[in-house]
């Protein structure tokens, strides 16, 4: 309803504009991100690029595009096909099928708290340098939406609603790919997850069980899990450093990761540390989705480490496969990891289609 009103106003504006230059110019309504208290306390304020400020109309358009199959060649796939809100905006496949049924070689990634990735290096290997640039890629990627931007622009331009929505968001009815990715990036920047049980514990609102507390200590203890050097902590509640490491998955690499992007062999086998928020919804795990369960992940770190030249020096006792956690410590570590899952995030009505 509101939208239609807007459009009516617009039409009036447009029709009058030549007549008088005293018309007030239409401006989309600016939005400032609501930064959760915990993030206000612990983190630097997020950066929104000056050339793509958040607006109500931009975010709404971005959301519509994100869920719309119109972006794919045969109208079967949207971003949400592989980035489903129920799964914290990833999917449950090891590798996601593109529209032609061709499977990629990477596990889809959950999407949240992306504005706090200050280095703005996105995807597992950091090949994309901003959310806007990233959003260009899936549309034309042959193993994803396999479309091309000229067709997509045409389809959007001929659509009954999109031209007016672009008018509202960007003050132009001429749709081009740069505006499409801007709108999508605006929506992605609003995906904030900060309401897990552990967040509430940090805010003094709930208690943790003894197992969860011990699991947190295993995570933080340099002689046990020592996960915090790469995966954040109570003081870095993103639960990632957003940096690239080789965490000892393989002795030889089929996927070079960061090395494939930089061309530096010292980067081979390095991938960006994923956030450990929302693991309850994001299985399978790792860049190639090789682990189906959190137990498998923990076993990997505890006794499954594979040595290679680029393995991170933070990995310990590699000759024994790792630090060999006790089964109690493993169970507690898992309980703690699950306490980082944010059910409000996956159920947030703002993020549903």
């Amino acid at each position: 309803m509101k939208k239609w009103l807007h459009i009516c106003f617009l039409l009036i504006f447009i029709s009058c504009s030549s007549g008088s230059d005293q018309q007030e110019e239409y401006i989309p309504i600016p939005v400032s991100l609501e930064v959760p208290i915990l993030f206000q306390q612990k983190l630097i304020a997020p950066l929104i690029p000056a050339d793509n400020p958040l607006t109500e109309e931009g975010i709404a358009l971005g959301k519509k595009l994100f869920f719309d199959t119109i972006l794919s060649k045969d109208n079967t796939q949207s971003c949400a096909t592989c980035h489903n809100p129920e799964n914290s905006f990833t999917d449950t496949d090891q590798f996601s099928d593109g529209i032609d049924g061709i499977r990629g070689t990477r596990n889809s990634m959950p999407l949240f708290n992306l504005v706090w990735n200050f280095d703005e290096r996105f995807t597992w290997d950091g090949k994309e340098f901003s959310l806007e640039k990233q959003a260009f890629e899936p549309v034309s990627n042959p193993i994803e939406m396999h479309s091309n931007w000229i067709d997509v622009e045409k389809k959007l331009q001929n659509h009954p609603e999109y031209p007016s929505l672009f008018q509202l968001a960007f003050k132009t009815v001429a749709i081009d790919s740069a505006l499409v990715v801007k709108a999508i990036a605006q929506f992605e920047r609003t995906l904030i997850s900060a309401n897990s049980k552990f967040d509430k514990y940090l805010l003094g609102q709930v208690e943790l069980t003894d197992n969860e507390l011990n699991g947190f200590n295993v995570f933080m203890d340099e002689t046990k899990g020592d996960c915090f050097h790469c995966h954040g902590s109570n003081n870095n509640p993103l639960w990632t450093d957003n940096k690239f490491h080789n965490n000892g998955l393989d002795a030889t690499f089929t996927d070079l990761g960061l090395g494939g992007v930089t061309g530096d062999t010292n980067d081979n086998g390095k991938f960006r540390s994923p956030s450990l928020r929302n693991l309850a919804f994001t299985a399978p795990y790792m860049h190639d989705g090789r682990f189906l369960t959190i137990d498998e992940v923990i076993n990997h770190y505890s006794e499954g480490l594979q040595n290679s030249e680029t393995i991170d020096p933070l990995m310990k006792k590699i000759d024994q496969g790792g630090v060999n956690l006790t089964s109690q410590d493993k169970a507690d570590l898992k309980a703690f990891l699950l306490s980082l899952s944010d059910y409000d995030f996956i159920n947030n009505p703002k993020f549903q289609q």
């Binding site: 983190l43 902590s233 991170d312």
Partner: protein, 252 residues
């Protein structure tokens, strides 16, 4: 507008003409600090990383993969005794060139100064969770090890007695004995470094701070990586050794 410009011109001429009167009047001064690193005579940049090319005093061959450290309470102290704070703290990361040179403008008079800083945070400033930029950089120390922040994260690999290449994590933090988790014994092992004379001339100064990385393994304690390599954060004795060795790593 024009008037403003004239006023400006007038004022700046007035300022310039006064400048010779006294060198003691504080003026807007540009201070440039460059952090450089070396292994004895050889300079070290991130291009030298990931390569087993260094040999420490005890004889272990080693590589560097990460070297980040914190300096705080950065001061210039004038021969007259007045001191001027340059910055509260800086995180230097050899992998991140932007952090290797730092420029600021401060009000201070020309003259001769002593340059000093603290390696790490003193207890007074080592407040858990207090600094968002350091939180984002994952530089914190877990509460079970006393909280606050790392002084240094120095990671690499070395060839051990069995001829295998293994990791080391030379992480300097406030010393902690956590044998009794409910009763941590903590000791501030940050230390202040007085680096020597800096001359501020024509309202500017460039300060080149050198770290000889080899010193961390050398003086006064010859470091045996076979014995002390990983899990050094909760190792109280190791932290005291780092504290002692660190005192000779910096120079101008």
């Amino acid at each position: 507008m024009k008037k403003l410009i004239t006023l400006f011109l007038g004022l700046s001429i007035a300022f310039t003409s006064c400048s010779s009167d006294s060198d003691v009047a504080p003026k807007e001064t540009t201070i440039n600090i460059n952090f450089t690193h070396n292994w004895e005579e050889d300079s070290v940049t991130k291009d030298d990383f990931n390569n087993i090319k260094f040999t420490n005093e005890h004889g272990e061959e080693l590589s560097i993969e990460r070297l980040r450290y914190l300096v705080s309470n950065i001061y210039l102290t004038h021969t007259s005794g007045s001191s001027y704070k340059v910055e509260d703290y800086l995180l230097v990361d050899v992998n991140d060139e932007e952090t290797l040179s730092y420029t600021t403008n401060t009000l201070l008079p020309n003259g001769t100064y002593n340059f000093s800083f603290r390696f790490g945070f003193s207890d007074e400033n080592n407040i858990d969770g207090e600094y968002p930029d350091l939180n984002i950089a994952s530089f914190e120390v877990p509460m079970i090890m006393g909280g606050g922040y790392h002084y240094m994260q120095f990671d690499g690999k070395f060839i051990d007695m069995n001829d295998t290449t293994v990791g080391f994590n030379y992480h300097a933090i406030r010393a902690v004995d956590n044998t009794d988790p409910d009763n941590l014994i903590l000791k501030d092992t940050s230390f202040s470094v007085t680096l020597g004379e800096v001359i501020v001339k024509d309202n500017s100064a460039t300060i080149n701070v050198k770290m000889n990385i080899a010193e961390w393994f050398k003086n006064p304690n010859e470091w045996d990586l076979n014995v002390l390599n990983q899990m050094l954060m909760p190792n109280y004795e190791a932290q005291l050794l780092m504290n002692a060795n660190g005192k000779s790593v910096f120079s101008l």
